[in-house]
């Protein structure tokens, strides 16, 4: 942009009221900056204006425009509604869905300035991230997610009709309990190739149903025969088929549980696919929000520089921008952990600074790009190829550590005090950076639980193993409740054993027995 065009244009809008015409014009202006200046690559956008009740609805069905029915969504709704009505929590200005076209919800209560910010944030920032980040590209299928949810919703409704709400609720409860352990972490998911496989499955079910002959029902049941089959030493196939150990519990039960019926397996599959869809989001919170925040900040400033935003609008935008990236100190009442918006935005702004105005220190730490000025390329590369953990490990600069005054606290349950093991000084940078990166490692956040063994010869007991990191236990009440659900899915006894990762030492064992 040259100085001649600077602040020459008419503002896009004045006052606070938004209209669809203004939205269109503003969107177009944003798009110019996003594509030509930042060079963002986005899915086509679909922007929907909704009322606050609809926002609450969207909240409670985990942000999805459609979802199968379940009481837990009602619980979430009741909770959110109360928080909102009491004024404890404002609603998000927007919700954005990783789909193609990329759907974002804008609240009708937003002022025009807020709509501008929200469009830049969601329709361009998040949208670019969804389309380009490797995790999303690899693990989720933006093309078909809505179609799949449509199928899921109908399928669950049909099951409720045929087998009763209670039966469906039971299986969904159980599936939700191990939802976090229904994703493939370490190997690629068997690509759903969605509709084709679903179709095949439905056909198979239909065939089973069609070929069901009333007369066969009168034959004596033969479950023992299968047990014998399993025991047969000539058939080691069975065990190898299980592919133990298995990290994806939902997948394991879907394929191998001896006691589930086809529709129950299909429901497990639905929950598993949704869990898998959310898996990348969990790992990229800092980056995703950082990217969107950086983008809206850059775009709004660019529009302002062009004279397309009034000072009043810009002031309002900056006000909510600074609210969003507020980071409280650890001893502040408002502190609730590191704010992903703050951290993400600060890191990305810092990358730009390092590219444009590096210090000696920056040149030492980031020789690859310090001073090159090519911050757009560096950022786009980061957005595409990193997740929170690796992003922090790679890009957190000493400068930023000092600015946020980060420090590491060691907490050993056996000791009566915490130990400050690193602060924002020359000796501590790497330590702080490592610790912060690790705290965003999905492997550290979710407990590592795998199916390790199935007793095929005896009572079919299922053995799960919790590989503990540095002795960190599970919440015990919840653990026992979850085991009951697992028992429901497996149909036979279940044991969970906690084993220390380094030493291999057994720390605890919890069991649910057959009935």
């Amino acid at each position: 942009m040259t100085d001649a065009t600077r602040r020459a244009a008419e503002p896009l809008f004045e006052g606070t009221e938004w209209t669809f015409d203004r939205l269109h014009r503003t969107y177009d202006a944003i798009e110019v900056v996003a594509r030509e200046d930042l060079g963002l690559d986005i899915y086509p956008n679909q922007l929907e204006v909704i009322a606050s009740e609809q926002m609450l609805d969207a909240y409670s069905s985990i942000g999805m425009p459609l979802m199968y029915p379940h009481w837990s969504f009602g619980k979430r709704f009741a909770h959110e509604e109360r928080m909102y009505r009491k004024g404890y929590a404002g609603l998000a200005y927007e919700i954005v869905i990783n789909s193609n076209p990329c759907i974002s919800y804008n609240m009708e209560e937003n002022t025009m300035a807020m709509q501008t910010l929200v469009m830049a944030h969601a329709a361009f920032g998040h949208n670019h991230f969804f389309k380009n980040n490797y995790l999303f590209r690899q693990w989720t299928n933006a093309e078909t997610i809505l179609e799949y949810l449509e199928f899921a919703k109908k399928y669950v409704a049909r099951c409720e009709e045929r087998y009763g709400e209670a039966a469906v609720e039971e299986i969904l409860d159980a599936a939700h309990a191990i939802m976090e352990h229904g994703v493939f972490r370490y190997r690629r998911p068997p690509r759903p190739n969605a509709s084709a496989r679903m179709e095949r499955r439905r056909e198979r079910d239909a065939f089973v149903e069609k070929s069901h002959r009333e007369i066969w029902r009168t034959l004596p049941k033969q479950p023992p025969a299968r047990l014998v089959e399993d025991e047969d030493p000539d058939e080691p196939v069975k065990r190898s088929e299980l592919k133990l150990p298995e990290e994806n519990l939902l997948y394991f039960f879907e394929k191998h549980s001896p006691s589930l019926r086809p529709w129950q397996r299909e429901i497990l599959r639905i929950v598993r696919n949704i869990a898998q869809y959310y898996y990348p989001q969990k790992q990229t919170k800092v980056m995703n929000e950082g990217c969107a925040t950086f983008v809206h900040h850059y775009i709004c400033n660019a529009l302002f520089d062009k004279g397309l935003l009034t000072e009043g609008a810009m002031l309002e935008i900056l006000h909510s921008h600074s609210n969003v990236i507020f980071q409280a100190d650890f001893d502040d009442k408002r502190y609730s952990g590191i704010n992903p918006y703050a951290l993400g935005f600060a890191m990305m702004a810092d990358i730009r600074r390092i590219c444009e105005h590096p210090t000696e220190e920056d040149r030492r730490w980031f020789p690859d790009f310090a001073g090159t000025g090519a911050w757009r390329e560096v950022l786009k590369d980061a957005w595409a190829n990193y997740r929170d953990e690796s992003f922090i490990r790679q890009f957190l600069s000493p400068h930023l550590i000092r600015r946020l005054r980060l420090f590491v606290l060691n907490d050993d349950a056996k000791l009566a005090h915490y130990l400050v093991s690193g602060i924002h000084d020359e000796q501590g940078y790497r330590r702080v950076r490592d610790a912060l990166a690790r705290s965003y490692d999905i492997g550290m956040i979710d407990p590592d639980i795998q199916v390790v063994e199935v007793n095929l010869k005896g009572d079919r007991r299922l053995k799960l193993q919790h590989t503990m990191q540095s002795g960190i236990p599970l919440v015990e009440d919840a653990r026992d409740e979850v085991l009951k659900h697992v028992h429901r899915l497996w149909g036979y006894g279940v044991t969970l054993v906690g084993v220390e990762r380094e030493s291999g030492e057994k720390r605890y064992e919890a069991s649910i027995n057959l009935n």
């Binding site: 669809f20 269109h24 922007l47 929907e48 909704i50 009322a51 009740e53 609809q54 609450l56 609805d57 069905s61 029915p69 009481w71 837990s72 009602g74 619980k75 009741a78 109360r82 009491k86 919800y105 009708e108 709400e165 939700h176 309990a177 191990i178 976090e180 409280a328 650890f330 001893d331 009442k333 502190y335 609730s336 590191i338 005054r405 980060l406 420090f407 606290l409 060691n410 907490d411 349950a413 005090h417 130990l419 400050v420 093991s421 602060i423 702080v432 610790a435 690790r438 956040i445 979710d446 002795g471 960190i472 236990p473 599970l474 919440v475 015990e476 009440d477 919840a478 409740e481 979850v482």
Partner: protein, 444 residues
């Protein structure tokens, strides 16, 4: 490529189904909390829904999560002030939240869940398994009143119901269809004939023309006579139907002793009792009217404000209030149209010798027309211990007991504290009080 969609008009209750599922799931806990809160809370608030907190048992969503303590872990915080590497900080005693809201993300660790019930949900739970006694009358009354409602158009009917517009429209179209000569056309020809005839001398052309015109006029006249302007076929009438109407209105008489012996406390208790009954009636009936009758040694109908808040002096003659109620009922609330309820509150004092008159009024005039008559006697906290179940008491109480014995729809109770009201109320309106405990709906 880019689309803006206005979804604001889309249905907003997408979560309603899930909310109901949740309510069903947590029903037992919610019910318990609601019952408890009704006992304790100021009854004027009852109508306005409320925030309740229920234990998460049964509605928890257990997940495998790392515990907040135990093992060795590292945490990163922002905003260091004075710490340097190697510093040791004492832990706060026994898991206290000394470090900000560290436990904020634990979520499921909490053992209670808080959310708001709407007014409807709250009242539904409140009134659940209550049923107005002796609802037979209402059931019988269901088809008692008839109302004429329009039911379209018919071809037969009485002249008063003639629908002129429709009839004329019908006639008009018939006339057009049958080509009945229009009056305007006739008049034009007549005018032309008159003009021709008026001429002193006519050419042969004009004579010819006159002849055709006269022939035409005659043809028209014949046709007009054959095709009437309005035919019986055209008549259209408004049709009416008598529709049965459920008797959905109720009147509630509130009777209260306002003599000096009724203090603030007594009036307050009485008020709560009335409000509760009123709320209940409002749910049952579309339209509920309330009549306030206060009495000392004489009775008068007053507005609500005066009823509860103005002070009166004088003696106490209960029968005056009953007589006043009988009068008002006869004047304004015929039994055929109204379901009549009465609620009376008093401290039990009455002019000696008035009891018999009360019995007579109730037995002969009031009880036959009332759906239900509830009497509460407001006692001292000390007195209630003595009188709780005693059959005898004040003269009025003894007299009313005789009424209660002969009328199933007469109920009486003694109360002393706000917390007593709800149990009394429940008992008053418990389904089929006497004799059939088995028919009570089992608590879910």
């Amino acid at each position: 490529m880019t689309q803006f969609i206005d979804r604001r008009q889309n249905p907003k209750d997408k979560s309603l189904g899930n909310r109901q599922r949740f309510m069903r799931r947590a029903r037992a806990q919610i019910k318990e909390v609601v019952n408890r809160s009704i006992k304790e809370r100021n009854i004027t608030d009852v109508a306005s829904g409320e925030t309740i907190t229920i234990p998460t048992k049964g509605i928890g969503e257990p997940r495998l999560r790392h515990a907040q303590s135990g093992g060795v872990r590292e945490r990163v915080f922002s905003g260091n002030k004075q710490f340097s590497t190697g510093d040791k900080i004492d832990k706060p005693p026994s898991g206290g939240g000394g470090r900000g809201k560290e436990g904020a993300d634990s979520g499921d660790g909490e053992d209670s869940f808080e959310f708001a019930l709407t007014r409807e949900e709250f009242l539904d739970l409140f009134f659940e398994d209550l049923e107005l006694p002796d609802m037979i009358k209402r059931a019988l009354l269901e088809v008692k009143t008839w109302r004429r409602t329009r039911a379209g158009i018919t071809t037969v009917g009485s002249p008063t119901n003639l629908n002129i517009l429709r009839t004329m429209r019908q006639a008009h179209s018939r006339r057009i269809a049958l080509r009945r000569p229009r009056t305007v056309a006739v008049e034009t020809i007549e005018a032309e004939i008159a003009a021709l005839e008026a001429k002193a001398r006519r050419t042969t052309d004009e004579d010819k023309r006159l002849a055709t015109l006269q022939a035409e006029l005659e043809r028209m006249g014949r046709r007009r006579r054959a095709i009437p302007y309005i035919d019986p076929l055209d008549l259209r009438f408004n049709a009416y139907q008598a529709r049965p109407e459920p008797n959905a209105q109720a009147v509630m008489f509130c009777l209260m002793d306002v003599s000096g012996s009724m203090g603030e406390r007594e009036k307050d208790l009485a008020k709560r009792f009335f409000i509760l009954l009123h709320l209940f009636l409002r749910r049952r009936y579309d339209h509920v009217e309330v009549v306030f009758i206060r009495h000392t040694h004489e009775a008068q109908e007053v507005d609500e404000e005066t009823f509860f808040y103005s002070r009166e002096t004088g003696g106490t003659v209960v029968s005056t209030a009953l007589a006043e109620m009988a009068r008002i009922q006869k004047e304004r609330y015929p039994v055929a149209k109204w379901n009549i309820y009465a609620a009376q509150a008093s401290d039990g004092e009455n002019h000696s010798g008035d009891a018999d008159r009360c019995i007579a009024l109730l037995d002969e005039t009031l009880m036959p027309v009332c759906q239900y008559y509830a009497y509460v006697e407001i006692l001292d906290e000390r007195e209630i211990e003595i009188f709780r179940n005693a059959p005898d008491g004040t003269a009025l109480w003894r007299a009313y007991r005789r009424v209660a014995d002969s009328w199933g729809n007469f109920a009486m109770k003694r109360i002393a504290r706000p917390a007593d009201i709800y149990p009394v109320f429940r008992e008053l309106f418990a389904p089929r009080k006497a004799g059939q405990p088995a028919s009570r709906a089992p608590a879910p």
